[in-house]
Symmetry: C2
């Protein structure tokens, strides 16, 4: 079960969506613009997975047309802390990892 949770929370789009939601509330198209280049289908599946895990709340407002808002739940916000560390680690090491990859590819060519 832990592995299947890790599969969700470690997934790059889940990380991007959770970090983007942060402490705010967003509509689908706003998220789609901010978490580019995610496809509509991938964003829907990612949001649905996060909702299913109780990490994101989906609120439908009875306007016409209905307005749908997404936000992190309490559980989602507790994950946000860990994922911000992971994203921060990735950002801090991205350049040196890029060089390691280039060296490795040259060695293996």
């Amino acid at each position: 079960m832990i592995r299947s949770v890790l599969e969700r929370v470690g997934d790059k789009w889940s990380v991007a969506v959770v970090c983007q939601l942060g402490e705010s509330t967003y509509r689908f198209n706003e998220l789609r613009r901010l978490v580019s280049p995610i496809t509509q289908r991938m964003l829907s599946a990612t949001l649905r997975g996060l909702e299913r895990d109780g990490l994101v709340s989906r609120t439908v407002h009875p306007t016409s047309p209905p307005r749908v808002d997404y936000a992190l739940t309490g559980r989602g916000r507790s994950l946000l802390v860990v994922l911000r560390d992971l994203a921060g680690w990735a950002e801090a090491h991205a350049e040196e990892i890029g060089s390691s990859r280039a060296e490795f590819d040259q060695r293996e060519a």
Copy 2:
């Protein structure tokens, strides 16, 4: 580039291998036993990806037959700290996420 780093480090098998390596050194078959149910092919690809990113070192000892050891590099150990938090979060929330999934599936059935 950050997304492609996240794709590597967030991948469930990378998380499992990095956490298993920890501060120790392992041979391939030991890792394969400890990080089950990973397939030989998946473990090879995961170790290769981690080596390419400079997170894991692969040392071939000139014995007969040659002995190959895997261990985290300094960069790998800095990632270990963050991934242990992620794995810890997953462990702490696995049960409640399981219940959320069951409720969601029932609602959507």
